[in-house]
Symmetry: none
Subunit: 227 residues, 2 copies
DNA sequence: TCAACTTGTCACAATCTCGTCACTATTGAT
DNA sequence: ATCAATAGTGACGAGATTGTGACAAGTTGA
């Protein structure tokens, strides 16, 4: 059974979320303020945290920072909730390393989808980001490549990028979406940033790099060519 | 079943529109404020959005801008509603890329007509529509060919061309129409461009190329010969 | 403080796309 | 069968897109 911590001060939303999660047979714990949330996280080590940014006593950003400092909690995936569609908050959140975000009001259905998507790539109780594909395993900025029997260290950005591509294996991801999801860019910056990072990834990946395919006019796509 | 999102703060109008749409067997979801509308759009990905410009919390323009930033929603056709015949609003809306507009008060009958017209039109105009034919699926410059269990990368132009042909499966498309729709040509350029692209398409399609038939003296036609 | 690392940007190189053209092949009416 | 119209094909070059190496600014950790 997976446990999810809900840190949200509005009682209605807390209950709504909690109800929905439990109906999907997650176990939930919740708190209406930041400080309690933090100590609940430390004592229970949940599998995922849904964290409102506007919290009494200690706000979401503070809580998040604290979580990331403690080795027991630093790898727990966090979905941030922002009351306003404040671009700044979202970007700040993503930069701090939140795994996903949702702006209120949101549909419970969407939250459930995100929770499941996030948990799918998180299999350990310590909650590090892991993807197990046929021949590789992504975990904590490291790519374990079984065929080559070795570990490849990735930078955080490279990791994020590869993660998204692998999660959507077989589906071409367009440049703008990637820029938005990995970097939080809004506008179509006519940027070589994405290309450069893809290049760096490919360099590190060696022969596995053939899995990252260019889809001209669209973006990039991961395809497992090992099988 | 096609889903339509109604973003309109006046309850009477919302219900009226919703009633009319449902009578025509569309499925509807609705919201009285912009923010909720936006998140509904993101979680439900409707086929069309009817968007009032004067909305509480987040106005129609804002909602529209956000919709166009997200790849999941950026191609959804939008009909804008303006309270008064505010010329400026309409122009601004159309410039932003709204697909149609209507000024209040409007007749439900007219709205229905526009909705249907737009749904028919937009299906062909956006490059990202997915078409599932019996053995084929077109998405993001890629052709998924189920019988051959493989993906074929197409260039943007090839994609556009094939899309139009497949959408009008069984109906011969004449050269001028194709040149106009894919290339935006006005005059009958006595050009080999179309032929060349058809040839390139056929090359990529392999045995599937038999589906693209030459209709001498007219143009080309797609016909599913696999079934 | 300094060295090592990360990351975004730029300039230039490599590659791909696509319209055009010259030429060939096919078609269908006479 | 002949011929003119139509369609198919291969090649080329301009322009667009992507790949690459270098660099500088910013971060991190010792």
């Amino acid at each position: 059974m997976q446990t999810i911590l809900i840190a949200e001060d509005e009682k209605d939303i807390r209950q709504l979320v909690s109800f929905n999660l439990e109906r999907e047979s997650f176990s939930t714990i919740s708190s209406g303020d930041g400080k309690t949330a933090l100590s609940l996280a430390r004592s229970n080590i949940p599998d995922l945290i849904i964290l409102d940014l506007m919290l009494p006593v200690m706000d979401g950003f503070e809580v998040f920072k604290e979580l990331r400092l403690d080795s027991r909690t630093k790898d727990i995936p966090v979905i941030m909730l922002t009351a306003k569609a404040q671009l700044d908050d979202i970007i700040a959140g993503l930069e701090m390393g939140a795994d996903d975000y949702l702006t209120k009001p949101f549909s419970p259905k969407e939250l459930m989808l995100r929770v499941k998507a996030l948990l799918k790539r998180v299999k350990t109780s310590t909650g590090s980001t892991i993807i197990e594909s046929s021949q590789i395993r992504l975990d904590k900025n490291t790519l374990h490549c079984f065929i080559r029997e070795e570990k490849i260290d990735l930078t955080p950005t490279e990791f994020k990028l590869l993660l998204i591509l692998i999660e959507r294996e077989g589906v071409p991801q367009n440049r703008n979406d990637l820029l938005r999801e990995v970097w939080g860019y809004r506008e179509t910056a006519n940027s070589r940033t994405l290309d450069t990072h893809v290049k760096r990834l490919r360099e590190k990946l060696g022969e596995l790099s053939r899995c990252i395919e260019t889809v001209r006019g669209v973006g990039y796509q991961y395809r497992n060519i090992i099988s």
